[in-house]
C-alpha cells in the first residue's frame, strides 16, 4: 500500500529546528539517499556456498533501546518516561546478509517471488530492479553481494523458506552494538565515531561482496558498513499506546531527543537507524536495503 505520508521535498527550509535536528536531518537525508560503503574492496571474498544458512548462536542479553518508553504513573494522566531494557533471548543470526546468489535460488524455487510475478501487494515496482532478469543477476548484482531491492514481505518469505524469520529490532541492535572485541562498544566514542564515518561514506554503484568487513565479537559481519537491513518489527516505532492513535511520530524518542528523553544521544548511528526504519513501508524496496535471517531457539519451559 502506498497510502501513507508521501514527501517529495526535504522540508529543510521550513520551521526553525534546533541545531541538533538540523544536523540529524542533513545526516539522515544524505545517508539514506546515498547509502554506505563497505570497508573492503569488491569481489575479494572467497565464494561461499550459495544455499548455506550460516547462522551464529547469539546468547542474548539486554538491549537498551535508545528511546524512553512511557510508563503509567499513579493516575492515568501521569506518564513517566524511562528506558526499559529489553531482554533478548538466545537466538541464531546469519553471519552475513543474504546474497544475490542465495536469493536467486529462492526465487528459482518460489516462482511467486520472481520479479515479473511478484504481487504489488508485497513489493513495489523497483523490486529486484538491479537484476538483469527474473533468473539472471547481471553485472549490477554480483552473486556474493548482498541482495537489495527486496521488500519486507519478500525478506520474510525468504527467511520462512529457510526455517527462520527476520531478526527483531532488539535482536539486531543487540548484536550491532559490538565491535571486533567487545559485545557492547556503544560507550566508546572512538567506536561511535567509526560508525558515523561508515554511515556517511557514499555508496558504491555496485555493492561489494558480503564478508569483506570486520567480524564482530559475536562472530557476525557486515551489520554496519554494507547495507541497511530489514527487521521483523520495523513498524514498531510509534507514540505510546496510551490514549493516542497517532502513528506519525515517536514522541517518546524525538520530542525529547534534544533534551532529556533519549537514553543515549551519543549513539548517532542508532538514531539514524531508528529514523530510517520509521520511514519504511513493508512493500518498499531500495538499492541500499537488504536483510539477514534469524531463528528462535527453544527456551527452557517456554515457547520457542
Amino acid at each position: 500500500m502506498k497510502l501513507g505520508a508521501k514527501v517529495r521535498r526535504c522540508p529543510l527550509g521550513g520551521t526553525a529546528p534546533t541545531v541538533v535536528a538540523f544536523a540529524l536531518c542533513l545526516f539522515l537525508a544524505c545517508t539514506a539517499t546515498v547509502g554506505v560503503v563497505p570497508a573492503g574492496a569488491a569481489g575479494t571474498a572467497a565464494p561461499a556456498p550459495a544455499a548455506a544458512t550460516n547462522r551464529v548462536r547469539i546468547e542474548g542479553g539486554l538491549y537498551r533501546p535508545l528511546y524512553r518508553q512511557p510508563v503509567k504513573g499513579a493516575n492515568r494522566d501521569t506518564v513517566l518516561r524511562r528506558t526499559v531494557p529489553v531482554t533478548v533471548a538466545p537466538f541464531e543470526l546469519d553471519r552475513r546478509p543474504v546474497t544475490n546468489a542465495q536469493y536467486l535460488e529462492f526465487v528459482r524455487a518460489h516462482a511467486e517471488w520472481r520479479r515479473s510475478r511478484v504481487s504489488r501487494l508485497y513489493a513495489d515496482a523497483s523490486y529486484l530492479r538491479h537484476w538483469r532478469g527474473d533468473l539472471e543477476l547481471g553485472e549490477q548484482a554480483p552473486p556474493q553481494s548482498p541482495v537489495v531491492h527486496v521488500s519486507w514481505h519478500a525478506a520474510r518469505a525468504y527467511a520462512a523458506a529457510h526455517g527462520g524469520r527476520l531478526p527483531t529490532v532488539a535482536e539486531w541492535e543487540l548484536v550491532a552494538a559490538a565491535d571486533e572485541t567487545r559485545k557492547d562498544a556503544t560507550r566508546d566514542p572512538a567506536y561511535l565515531a567509526r560508525l558515523r564515518e561508515w554511515y556517511s561514506r557514499p555508496s558504491a554503484r555496485v555493492l561489494p561482496s558480503v564478508g569483506t568487513g570486520p567480524r564482530n565479537a559475536w562472530g557476525v559481519e557486515d551489520l554496519h558498513a554494507l547495507v541497511w537491513e530489514w527487521t521483523l518489527d520495523f513498524n514498531s516505532a510509534l507514540v505510546s499506546g496510551e490514549s493516542r492513535g497517532d502513528a506519525s511520530l515517536d514522541r517518546s524518542l524525538y520530542c525529547g531527543a534534544g533534551a532529556s528523553n533519549a537514553a543515549d544521544f551519543a549513539d548517532y548511528a542508532a538514531f539514524m537507524r531508528f529514523a530510517y526504519r520509521a520511514s519504511l513501508e513493508a512493500d518498499f524496496t531500495t538499492g541500499q536495503l537488504g536483510f539477514r535471517t534469524a531463528r528462535s531457539l527453544p527456551v527452557a519451559g517456554g515457547k520457542p
Binding site: L121, D124, S240, S279, F284
Partner: protein, 206 residues
C-alpha cells in the same frame, strides 16, 4: 512516484525528524495523502483479497478475506484488552456506520482484525462485539495467526509494539476498501469527524 524510493524513504524519515523537533503538540494529526498519490494507487492498486490466510471469527469458524468481495468494507485492527485507542476507533466506526445513508450502510461491512491473536479467542472477540453492541449482520471480528497478523498490519500500515505490561501500543488506522478489495481511503490517527470516511464509503459503493 517511482523515481527514487530511496530518496523518498530518506526524506520521509527526515520529515518525521523535522516534524518531531518543530511541532510536538499535534497528537491526532492525520498523515497527509496527496490527491496525486491516491489516484496512482487506484490505478494499479493490489487487492487485499490476495491475502489468502485463514481467519477465525467470533463463532470459531474459519474465514478468508475474499469472502468479503462484492461490497465496500471498512477495516481496522484492534485488540480486545485495549483500554485506550481501540474503544475510540470502534466508536468512530460506529459513528461512521450511523452516518452512512441507509442504502449504503446496508451494503457495507465492518471488519475488525485482532492485533493480539494469542488472547483474542472467539470468546474474547464475542465479548468485545457484545460490549460495543456491534450489529452482527454488518460487523465481523477476526483473528489470525501471529505471523499473518504481522502481514496484515504491514499491508494496512498499522504500526504496533507490544509492551511488557501486555498492552500493545499501536496506530489507529481505518481503511476503506472497494468491493474488489483495493484500498480507497486510509485514515491514520483519530479524527473528530467522519466526513471523509463517509465520502470514501459512498464512493466505494458506486
Amino acid at each position: 512516484m517511482r523515481t527514487s524510493r530511496t530518496t523518498r524513504a530518506g526524506l520521509t524519515g527526515t520529515l518525521l525528524l523535522m516534524l518531531a523537533f518543530s511541532g510536538c503538540s499535534r497528537p491526532h494529526e492525520r498523515a497527509p495523502v496527496s490527491g496525486a498519490d491516491r489516484t496512482e494507487v487506484r490505478a494499479q492498486a493490489p487487492s487485499l483479497f490476495e491475502l489468502k490466510f485463514p481467519l477465525t471469527d467470533t463463532d470459531g469458524r474459519t474465514r478468508t478475506l475474499a469472502e468479503f468481495r462484492g461490497t465496500p468494507f471498512v477495516a481496522s485492527m484492534v485488540y480486545t484488552n485495549c483500554t485506550s485507542v481501540c474503544p475510540r476507533v470502534t466508536a468512530d466506526l460506529k459513528t461512521l456506520e450511523k452516518a452512512l445513508p441507509p442504502d449504503v450502510r446496508e451494503h457495507t461491512r465492518f471488519l475488525l482484525f485482532s492485533l493480539d491473536p494469542g488472547r483474542d479467542t472467539p470468546a474474547a472477540l464475542t465479548k468485545f462485539a457484545e460490549h460495543h453492541a456491534l450489529d452482527h449482520s454488518r460487523w465481523t471480528l477476526l483473528a489470525s495467526s501471529e505471523d499473518d497478523m504481522r502481514t496484515l498490519a504491514a499491508v494496512l500500515g498499522v504500526k504496533f509494539r507490544p509492551d511488557e505490561g501486555g498492552e500493545i501500543a499501536h496506530s489507529a488506522v481505518i481503511v476503506v476498501c472497494n468491493p474488489d478489495g483495493t484500498v480507497r481511503h486510509r485514515q491514520v490517527g483519530l479524527q473528530d469527524r467522519v466526513d471523509d470516511l463517509v465520502a470514501a464509503v459512498e464512493e466505494a459503493g458506486r
